[in-house]
Symmetry: C2
Subunit: 393 residues, 2 copies
């Protein structure tokens, strides 16, 4: 059979065709009224998408560039910062804080788990910033941003959340909860290629920048704010990707019948439903989730059956179905595989990837027993439940 | 008449259609054999394009990100660096060195001029790095990279050249001259949208990084080298733009009949010819060049006639012809306009922009006298000279 290449990876994610066309067509200069209009509208739409009244900025970098900005703009060397890590992207916060010579209070839990609130509370004294992920892409775990925000209320610590896979898959109340910087990336729920990062910045964060003493230039947020409020940017912006982002936000608005916030909520619901379908399908096949107590809606990490190398499963997905499924990262490579369901993802994707998983298991894990079709049926049952259809005949 | 939008700006430049299509189609994940093959080939092709045996890296940022990398990876706070500035981009080196607390030996000449070699020589003592532009995009001036390279031979100073508009418009002997870091950007002669920077890094530069003490993370070149030699990248790469760059380098190779270096030389010759055509056209209309003694092949800066605001000319180009011509930058805004001729630029572009310039002058500078058609004819004469055609009948 034909094999259409399909991404089931937690970024880059499948591209929105309308955004692909907008990107290809974006033969424009950034110092023009045409671009300023697109850029200003996109920044405004991003505010709605993020759900904040804070400033929102776009950077020409991958998400890690915005993570660096959240360290270099908010800290001075030697200052205490709290870093929560439960996977590869938590370790990125740790490495960044180390590169900028912060005094790091590291709260580390095993891959696939989440954090104890009491432990966090006990470590906050004197902290200038707390850094965390909303969802840890490497493990498929979702962390409790709201509860951690509550712990920080009334403290001097700024709250920085990497929501690169969290945005568009999880609900945030950025302003009410007091998230000072929330970070997103282009290659995630907004359905365009990598190369853009975006972030919301609170008034408290702007104030901190007045005294923060790290060297910074390309990621100097105050300079960007000055330019971006005028529809400009401090450095040449990634024009084509911004045109794609504009098209993608228009698509999300249409999904909300003209209301972008409603479209965003529909997108979150879509990810949650897709995640529930994939989890149900995998479990119906006798597979175990890696983060069962705190599963993210962005990506599901599934353990390979005992004695089976997940790399072989990933390879079989690729070769037999042209489906790109992610292996485990770091210490989890070979132990689990990850199926993403964020952004441009629908019923056929969910049912298809679980159907393919059944064939992959038959081939790669012949001693793992299950009934052919059981996974797909479980996916259908979740979908039917959404519409209160009868799940059995 | 119809007005097709056309960029005559020194970046973003007109896009190569084959690259636009490749960008739109690039629905791929970066941890796949498919992407690794494209990325590895593109890095190898970039070496040929730059003309170096040194390592070449690609960063997900605009060119200024690579400029920051050349400061944060090569210096320690307090170290002496020499910065040459003759325009807005020279000032960017100055601001970067300042942000990273270097001791700056600033060699500054007025906009539109170039540097005195004796002055540079007298300032090199104890310098750890010299930073300059190959061509100053804000003024259309070309600096003598080869001569300055010769001054640095045998000194301890590393040589860093911003060739963002220089590459593909100017000849460099990176290894022979001893250029330790040479920087390029995607939205210039390689005919794709902004969002990628690339740079070559010498062995001497790699050694310096072992002791350089600036904080750096996203632009940590040693980390990128470790990844990129394996076809990976330290952070999510801008996949779609890299696919576009691959297509563009293929196009340049075809222009060299299968030899990429020949295609690169043809591209440089194209820029030189186009520049000669535009200069001749402007001068035939009685206009003055802003950098007559050291004109760049990338972009020509032309002074508005006395008493005429160049902003009005830029506006007329835009409104009447949908041609995007650049205004002066910084202190030169309103005094000059800039016509770029780098990358995807041909005979029709050269003849068309000078033809339009004649109509712009008739409208905006009615007291400036010239004969209609004189500019276009001068353009044709340069072109005819290329082929030893009779320039008059």
């Amino acid at each position: 059979m034909l094999r259409k290449t399909r991404l089931f990876t937690p970024g880059p994610t499948p591209l929105l065709p309308a955004a692909q066309n907008a990107i290809a067509a974006a033969d424009m200069h950034h110092r023009t009224a045409e671009f300023r209009e697109i850029f200003t509208r996109t920044l405004s739409d991003l505010k709605t998408f993020i759900g904040t009244k804070n400033d929102v900025l776009i950077l020409a970098s991958s998400g890690s560039g915005a993570m660096e900005a959240a360290v270099s703009n908010l800290t001075s060397p030697g200052e205490k910062v709290v870093v929560l890590t439960a996977g590869k992207f938590g370790e990125r916060w740790r490495d960044l804080a180390k590169a900028f010579n912060c005094q790091i209070e590291l709260i580390e839990v095993p891959y696939g788990q989440t954090f104890d609130l009491g432990t966090i509370k006990s470590k906050l004294d004197g902290a200038r910033v707390l850094y965390m992920q909303a969802t840890e892409t490497s493990t498929g775990a979702r962390h409790d941003v709201k509860a951690i925000a509550a712990l920080l209320k009334g403290t001097d610590a700024l709250f920085v959340v990497d929501a690169i896979t969290g945005l568009g898959t999880t609900h945030f109340e950025v302003d009410d909860w007091g998230i000072d910087i929330l970070i997103g990336g282009s290659q995630k729920a907004v359905m365009i290629p990598p190369g853009l990062a975006y972030l919301s910045v609170s008034e408290r964060a702007w104030q901190r920048m007045e005294t923060a003493k790290q060297p910074r230039y390309y990621f100097d947020l105050r300079k960007e704010r000055k330019s971006q409020t005028k529809g400009e940017s401090a450095f040449t912006p990634a024009t084509a990707l911004i045109a794609g982002l504009a098209a993608s936000l228009d698509y999300i608005r249409r999904a909300g019948n003209g209301n972008l916030a409603d479209g965003r909520d529909a997108l979150i619901h879509n990810a949650e439903t897709s995640a529930a379908m994939v989890r149900a399908g995998a479990q119906a096949l006798g597979l175990k989730l890696f983060a069962p107590t705190c599963p993210a809606a962005a990506v599901t990490a599934i353990l390979a059956p005992a004695g089976v190398d997940s790399s072989a499963m990933v390879k079989e997905f690729r070769e037999r179905f042209a489906m790109v499924v992610a292996n485990g990262q770091g210490e989890m490579k070979g132990k689990l595989f990850r199926i993403a369901h964020l952004g441009y993802y629908d019923y056929l994707d969910a049912i298809g990837v679980i159907g393919a998983l059944e064939h992959v298991l038959l081939k790669v894990a012949p001693s793992h027993k299950f009934e052919l079709g059981a996974g797909v049926r479980a996916v259908q049952e979740v979908f039917a439940g959404q519409f209160a259809e009868a799940a059995s005949v």
